[in-house]
Point group: C3
Chain length 362, copies 3
């Protein structure tokens, strides 16, 4: 499958334009009007594609590539055949990303699936909702009473925006997402099937059973947040659940009520953060990690995949394991554990030898 | 964000009404007509809010609160400034919940996002479906052939109720949920994006591949169950999958085919229960726990977060770890593991000393 | 709840037909016109039901069954009362599955919830989409520009098929699923709430924050794949994410961008496979397992439940633990760990005895 299958190719970019964009150095005498209109890995690139090389592992592959232009460093420049125009840059992958963003602006956030703008037939919008100019609402989307939506925002098919929700400008709300009790900033991307703002899991239990605690907080999502498909963010109990500016959350993550996530965090798929935990800025959490409720996770902390955090985490702490501890300590324990079966045998031998020594003694 | 942003405030409650509701003791001479119409934590409460104090950690904060009324115990009553009306109760948090339920009845279960009742334009209802009086169906919801829905139930936007499903009275079915092959009791809350009644994961494998086993059971959900956003409950193979009365399930939980969950269980987010496992009454499962198939989990058992249960669990058993074992044993093993790196060194030293002793001997 | 509640019973099958279907041996003199029209476990079966017995655990139960016909082996044939017609087969459960598939063809994949065919009122289809004859589209489904859908495929209520997606013949797309940037083969079953083809989690981070990497690959799903409710499959970055022929994926699984899954794999619920990992053919992954990105998992490997795979897996490797290692080694470590608390005591005793020996020596 090739990229243009789904994404409109722009008119492409010339070598001159690309070199300027990535501060790259084109070879002397290169045709600065050479154009590409796609990007591809070395093995799949053709003459109209840009590729990149930054790993010794792919040097052999590079010799056979048919790419029109290849971004690489001084170090690898010789690995490419003469038919490829080599554009030298410091960081080839970052440069590629820059070019990809320029070539495929449509891929930066979901667009209308009816290739259209405005409110499409089959969308259901409450008369009291207020949409700025330039909002796109696909068929099957539902927007409730008194909701407000900023210009440039796309509401995909089947998305449900509940009563009173406010969404900023240039956001994308994915297909079949549901959003309630939430205030959402600008340039926020919410992928399909996110559920934001439903009740948290809160009961007081007595002889009669589990009595539901009403959840009267909301959810505040700051600018430039991205939230992956199927992620669930519960609204606060008496406070708000808050996702800080520029934080990126992957698919199928669970964020409990009252959780506060700082700025610029990265939370990988299937992680769960329980109620009332406060996470600092620029925290990274690996996939399938869990953090129990009412904890503080310090700025810049790293929680590795599948860890289970049960205690406060200091700033820049690196944790792993379940229950999670300092990563170095955990690795030492794992290394020790791998020697344990042998150590148990050694203990038995030591016992035998001591018994012998004791016998000889007596 | 303040509560009334999304929830209708009722007319509020007077100190007299609150004192009666929570069996609280108002101070002598207090103005029994004093009214509040919100609830808030100590640091955010204003004169129209009720707050609570039950933790020594917040005594300092309490001194600065602007709450109109504060629920607290005898022990902490002095911590509050004179401007706050102190209402003494035995259990401040439970009392707060009681008041919150009275103040914000709308927060106890989702309501129509079109602020309306009845079947709204844009809902698609098969002519053979039977809805009692007082059912609300939001735009974009779809109700299939021969489905039956009891009075007072709200079907939110985009929810899909398949052929023949029966839903009782005063239920809430969340936005974009999908329900098939299910019988659902009264006062059941199903949050957005739940999928209930699809096929379980069942194949017989042979040389030609994996042959699907038809799943012809259903799902039975008893009264007063609550099911979190994105949770999936597969229908039974030849029997039914059953969720017992008053059981509460959090977000993104997986319940396999034929699972029977007893009454009053609490199942925290991202837990998975594999097919044909039978769980007793009042069982608690922490987040991200897993239980393999065909097990029996006894009444009152507690499975801690991230545990992996691979064997039957006795009544009131407390398990942790993966594979899960008795919690005390597991904690002992973890404590021992933390000493293992040192112990390995000690074993090496013991070996050296024994070798010395042996040499001296000979 | 009985099967016919939701599934149409066919006219049923006679003993003669069943015996032929499963190569079974009916008792001499049996009435070959005896008919059943349901299947049920021994304890719930009535005279119109087929049941099966293949486990000594259920011999006592078998004596009381009211089943019309029971599939069993020579070994257990005597356990059934005379009123039950015993049909001897080599593999009773497989035989039961064969019969169930014949009796309940409707249960093999979801059907229209409006009991209808064709495009139903309330479906939204872009005029440039192309549907072959015999496609069913339920109310509330949305099909975008230039999408193509093969004959016999059912698009359930609320499903969203985005621009340019191609779906083969005889597929089922579940309620409220969303599919974009994908090419899908024939006889593929996609359960409710699957999200396929959204952006993967890819950023380059710099001083200004996390910059989104445009994802311009697609998703290719081969014939006879089944994908469970709520599972998320991200589209590729520059390549495609690929699910091989006949692979079956359970609920709430996360498949990252560029992942390639081979043929005939089984991936159990809540498992996550991170970006760019390549999984061979006939690999099995237990529930809640995790595999980090950029790995190779060999053909026929088995990853047990809750494992965390951090290294390449050889063909037919069996892994468990987090981080995952060879299963045998892991089991040995777990066995050793269970003896560790005692071993630490033994080490202390050995130390004491050596000290004594040393003292006596000197």
């Amino acid at each position: 499958m090739s990229a243009p299958f789904f994404f409109k190719r722009s008119g492409g970019l010339s070598l001159r334009e690309i070199a300027a964009l990535v501060s790259g150095e084109a070879p002397e005498g290169a045709d600065l009007d050479l154009r590409i209109n796609g990007i591809a890995p070395l093995d799949r690139a053709g003459p109209n594609d840009l590729s990149f090389l930054d790993n010794p592992k792919y040097v052999a592959l590079a010799a056979t590539t048919a790419a029109g232009i290849c971004l690489t460093t001084e170090r690898f420049a010789q690995a490419l055949p003469p038919r490829v125009c080599v554009l030298r840059v410091r960081e080839p992958y970052r440069a590629l990303v820059e070019v990809a963003r320029a070539l495929f602006p449509d891929a930066l956030r979901p667009t209308s699936l009816f290739d259209a703008g405005g409110v499409l037939p089959g969308a259901h919008i409450h008369p009291s909702a207020r949409l700025e100019n330039g909002v796109t609402v696909d068929p099957g989307a539902v927007i409730g009473a008194r909701a407000e939506i900023g210009g440039g925002t796309v509401i995909a098919a089947g998305a449900v925006i509940a009563t009173g929700v406010r969404i900023g400008r240039d956001c994308s709300i994915g297909a079949n997402a549901s959003i309630m009790h939430a205030l959402i900033g600008d340039r926020v991307i919410i992928h399909p099937h996110c559920a934001i703002g439903q009740d948290g899991f809160a009961y007081v239990s007595n002889a009669k059973g589990h009595v539901k605690v009403p959840q009267i907080g909301g959810v505040v999502i700051h600018d430039d947040v991205e939230i992956g498909a199927g992620t669930k963010i519960d609204r606060g109990g008496m406070r708000d659940t808050v996702i800080g500016e520029g934080t990126k959350i992957d698919n199928l993550v669970q964020i409990g009520h009252n959780v506060v996530l700082g700025q610029g965090c990265l939370v990988v798929s299937q992680t769960g953060i329980a109620g009332s935990t406060r996470v600092g800025n620029y925290v990274m959490m690996g996939g399938q990690a869990g953090v129990i409720g009412h904890l503080d996770v310090g700025d810049g902390a790293i929680i590795t995949a599948q860890s289970g955090v049960t205690k406060d985490v200091p700033p820049r702490g690196i944790l792993s394991g379940s229950p999670a501890g300092d990563r170095r300590t955990h690795l030492k324990e794992l290394a020790a554990l791998s020697k344990l079966p042998e150590a148990l045998q050694e203990i038995r031998k030591l016992r035998q030898e001591i018994e012998k020594l004791k016998k000889k003694k007596s």
